[in-house]
Amino acid sequence: MSVYLTIDGKTIEAAPGATLIDVAADNGVYIPSLCYMRGKPCLGTCRVCSVKVNGNLMAACTVKVAAGMEVAVDDAEAADFRNALVEINFSEGNHNCPSCEKSGRCELQAVGYELGMVASRFPYRFAKRSREDAARHFFLERDRCIFCQRCVEFVRDEETGRKIFSIDARGWKAEIVIDVALADRMTGERAAEVAEMCPVGCIIEKGRGYDDPIGKRKYEIKSLRQRVLDGETA
């Protein structure tokens, strides 16, 4: 049995309990996100997918659709809120796209382009967080972490099920940390998947650098928007 809701005034049929951000994508409406990965549990950390649901700002990845729901994506206040959250991420860390190995396949960069971001309205914090290079497969460029927690929740040791990444400390002192012993048990293939999962250039593979030529990088071949609308993970 289906439910009917409206997105930007257009009536849409959806399965009850489906996630709003997926329903929107399936109906040609792109909602940006930095933490949500289609097919995986909602994290709800970045809030960049905020839209108005029955007049209230809510993160679309946390909302299950229901009959009669009125959703506004193309809404000035919601759009400004989404833009502000993306800008905060750029101001809070050190995101120097031109020299970053993730450039061209970075979701933060791609979302910035999708939103037409030119500059951040917030002062840059110039975070000074240490790099971590102890793990066999990974460099952690902590200045680029946006605390989406994908790595925290979705990366586990295959044998014990224990988490490999976690967030240490709180507030402005928070930083991502890695259990080196567990991380070193990963295969190279799994490590590549983990690095790819990071939406920014924080978790990068050791020894991988700029293999994809400019113009042929992930989001240059096919935009993030189109990938989302096609139902891909990101």
């Binding site: 031109p98 102890a134 460099f139 020894g207 293999d211 030529p213 400019i214």
Partner: protein
Amino acid sequence: MTRRLVIDPVTRIEGHGKVTIQLDEANRVAGARLHVVEFRGFEKFIQGHPYWEAPVLLQRVCGICFVSHHLAGAKALDDIVGVGHASGQQITPTAEKIRRFGHYAQQLQSHVAAYFFLTAPEMLFGVDAAPEKRNVLGLVEADPEFVRRVVALRKWGQEAIVSVLGKRMHGISSVPGGVNDHLGPEARDRLLHGADGLIGLETVIAYAQEALELFYAYHDKERALIDGFAEVPALNMCLVDEGGNVDYYHGRLRIVDKNKNVVDEFDYHDYLDKFSEATEDWSYMKFPYLKALGREAGSVRVGPLARANVTRSYEDATPLAKAALERFHDYTGGKANDMTLHTNWARAIEILHSAEQLRNLLADPDLQGSNLVRSPSKSDWTGEGVGVVEAPRGTLLHHYGADRDGKVTFANLIVATTHNNTVINRTVKAVADAFLSERELITEGMMNAVEFGIRAYDPCLSCATHAIGQMPLVVSVFDADGTLVDERLRG
């Protein structure tokens, strides 16, 4: 009363510097210095970054010759991972030719910018022409068609860079052990035959010949000025191939004297054994010199004039440039050419040489090859690498170290302008002696002559000090009491 002249900033150069000229009580030049007054610190802030980021980050020291920095860094990375020349290995033919292609394309566009936009105003209007005329806008006003051809020529060079590095500036092509892409047939044909808004290669070569003709016409008209302007002695250095002729991408470093005798030739990995660097408290730019000869006798000149002096002949496959170089050599009868303004002649020859080398590479099917990277085994890792290329302005060196985790532990850059530091200072002194000594009245044209001499080297002070450069140079004249008498400031 003695006087001190200041030119601040020196204009139409890359970076920020100033010149001070000290006059004694008889208005004779007692001293002249080029001060480089900027500092940046690239060698420091690369430390701790992953080694593969070095050529990408450090190329940003320069917006003109970034491909040279990218390639010098890439060669150093080849060494670090164990597939470079230090280990006696070679990257694949496609990888090396793609790197060379980007390098020659950059040399073309860089030399065109320096030659036409920074130097041609004096060649066409005279050293003492009115400042409002003596610039690129003056060129546009005098001959818009000429400027259109120059823009088209430079654009072709930029588009050739885009075709292998992905962007006009600060692109990415080289990775440790090779390159990340080849040149596709469509991009090749576009560069060969031209497209809407883009000239073809034969037109590039025709316009490059015009650059030479411009110098010949200027030389015919102002022979005494050009030949007598700052003839400064120096050793000449460049990378050479096995035949002893310039190789812009790789080779051994050869140094020749006034009689073109080889003073030294060595593997560039040994540069620390050969070179030392002096410092002065009045400039951020160091003064490299050959240890064996000492600072005064061991300072070298690099760049177009040095390369033309070291090289005996270009390859047969670049016949137009080869003939031009023979004419250049004939002019000094077998001796090295120390005439500063002949650097512009050598630069024009190199524009043509680059164009012919690019034509030859575009005909080489290796550019469409698919074997791009030579992957080392972990046991090949060396953790240290040196890369040297001949940048448009001369010999450029990058030296990196990395720990086993892949973090850069140190970096050293010696750029062409740094090598030329002593020679540029000698040039400033020579021009000051000729144009400013014993003159009661110092004119703007006289001061510009000093800048014209400096511009022959197309110095890049931003690279040379790795400093944040946005403003050009300054010339000041002081009296013996240290009182500022005259000064040229720009900006």
